[in-house]
């Protein structure tokens, strides 16, 4: 009996339960256990306490794992039922747990999940980089397009306003209420010419800069348009004559004029015309 107690105290039974003994040692313990009920009881106690300890430290696996595991068991169950004898044959030869276990090892594809995630992550990263590059280049092209649209809009607007403007000019020539008055050069300036478009109804006065033939004025002087109303000169405004002048410009309005004349005056104009500086004139 003392032997049994000493045997128990060595701690070999704990190692037996923890699966730490060699096959020889295991056989020895099992032989002792079959001889001595006290040893068998001791083993049972150790097992129960370690089982309780594991239960106290239990961790609930995720719920969806239950179906996965049970399905994999049923799959192997179906396979096994076709070949029921194989397993028993092997296990009859060797009923040692670990080896029997190794005989039935089924390599699981799931074990590769770690590297799968690694590759999946790399693929995601590559896709992300490609996406960013694509977005960047698309954005470049979008900005380019915006620039093109803006410049096209600007050109379009320029054209539209030019068309409007020219339409206005054409209207003048088409409008029967407009009178086209051709001012001719004075003996001092025989080559000078200016066309005034005058609408007595709307009191509008325009001068045609395109067809104008006047000597270019300098910085200190400007041409001044006059209308003769009831024998008195009325100031219709000043303008510049440049070699590249185009279009028409609108002058001050006048309702009834007996004549139009242009004098060269100092810049900004004067209250009454300097008759000696008259360049063109026309009576109506």
């Amino acid at each position: 009996m003392e032997d049994v107690k000493a045997y128990i105290e060595t701690g070999i039974l704990e190692l037996y339960v923890l699966g730490e003994l060699s096959q020889d040692e295991k056989n020895q313990v099992e032989e002792m256990a079959s001889k001595h009920p006290q040893i068998k009881a001791e083993i049972a106690e150790i097992e129960r306490s370690l089982e309780a300890y594991a239960a106290a430290n239990a961790v609930e696996p995720p719920e969806q794992l239950r179906d996965k595991v049970l399905n994999s068991l049923l799959t192997t169950f179906a396979d096994d039922s076709k070949f029921p004898s194989r397993e028993f044959l092997e296990n009859d030869i060797d009923d040692e747990v670990d080896e029997a276990v190794n005989d039935n090892v089924v390599p699981l594809p799931v074990a590769k999940s770690g590297s799968f995630y690694k590759y999946a992550f790399a693929a995601c990263l590559a896709a992300l980089i490609a996406s960013i590059a694509a977005i960047y280049s698309l954005n470049e092209r979008l900005n380019e397009s915006y620039g093109q649209i803006a410049s096209l809009q600007q050109r379009n607007q320029t054209f539209a306003s030019r068309v409007n403007y020219m339409q206005g000019e054409i209207d003048i020539f088409h409008d029967p209420t407009f009178k086209l008055v051709k001012l001719q050069g004075t003996p001092k300036t025989p080559a000078s010419q200016l066309t005034v478009a005058w609408n007595p109804v709307k009191k509008k006065v325009m001068i045609d800069m395109q067809a104008m033939k006047l000597a270019a004025n300098d910085e200190a002087h400007q041409y001044q348009l006059w209308a003769i109303v009831n024998g008195k000169p009325v100031d219709l405004g000043v303008f510049d004559a440049k070699p590249d002048s185009t279009g028409m410009i609108e002058m001050n309005p006048v309702a009834n004029a007996a004549a139009f004349a242009v004098t060269l005056e100092k810049r900004g104009g004067v209250p009454s015309p300097t008759m000696s500086q008259m360049v063109v004139i026309a009576t109506i």
Binding site: E9, T10, G11, I12, E14, L15, V17, L18, G19, E20, I43, E45, I46, E47, R48, S49, L50, E51, A52, Y53, A54, A55, A56, N57, A58, V59, E60, P61, E63, L65, R66, K68, V69, L70, S72, L73, L74, T76, F77, S81, E87, N91, D95, E96, V97, D98, A100, V101, D103, N104, V105, V106, L108, V110, A111, S113, G114, S115, Y117, K118
Partner: protein, 183 residues
């Protein structure tokens, strides 16, 4: 926790049903032991996905090699937990795993796990802290290394630099404390 009723059988009924390879045996096996086994596996393997894989492998091995279990030689759980522990250790020591695993300080491991997962609520667990307090630190570390880290007693002896005999004695003392507590 689960809305489904968990199946529970006595150990004798379960062993019989497993021998006859009945479907209910698989369900009961999972419901009765998955959390205890997962507790051991997930303390050895901290990566959740790998721990789940190993739990599945464990059940497949239990199922496929059940004919090699002998009730004469010990309790069902003892046999199963050794399969789970061996599979876990094989996984941890495999080259594949070493490359990707992060190492946690041993002492922090249990608390780390408990923070990470929903440990099962058990009324008797309320006293578990008392138990852990009762264990001497040197008993606690040996129990932890052997039961939850899968060290052999030889490795523990080397790791802690204590004689093999001392390791055995301390392990026995620790398990005696467990017995006092649980029985």
């Amino acid at each position: 926790m689960s809305p489904k009723r968990k199946i529970s059988l006595t150990e004798e009924e379960l062993v019989l049903a497993l021998r006859n390879r009945e479907k209910i045996a698989a369900d009961a096996l999972y419901d009765m032991y998955s959390s205890s086994l997962f507790g051991v596996i997930s303390r050895i393997i901290t990566d959740t996905a790998i721990a789940e894989d190993v739990l599945q492998e464990t059940f497949i091995k239990i199922w496929n090699s059940f004919s090699s279990y002998s009730a004469e030689k010990g309790r069902l759980f003892t046999w199963m937990v050794n399969i789970a522990r061996n599979l876990s250790i094989d996984k941890v020591r495999s080259k594949d795993f070493k490359n990707q695993s992060k190492n946690h300080e041993l002492e922090n491991n249990v608390t780390f796990i408990d923070e990470q997962r929903n440990t099962v609520y058990k009324p008797e667990l309320l006293g578990l802290k008392d138990l852990v307090d009762k264990l001497k630190p040197e008993q606690k570390i040996i129990l932890e290394l052997v039961y939850f880290k899968g060290y052999t007693h030889v490795e523990v002896s080397e790791e802690l630099d204590v004689p093999l005999g001392t390791v055995k004695t301390r392990l026995r003392m620790a398990i005696i404390e467990l017995r006092k507590y649980f029985n």
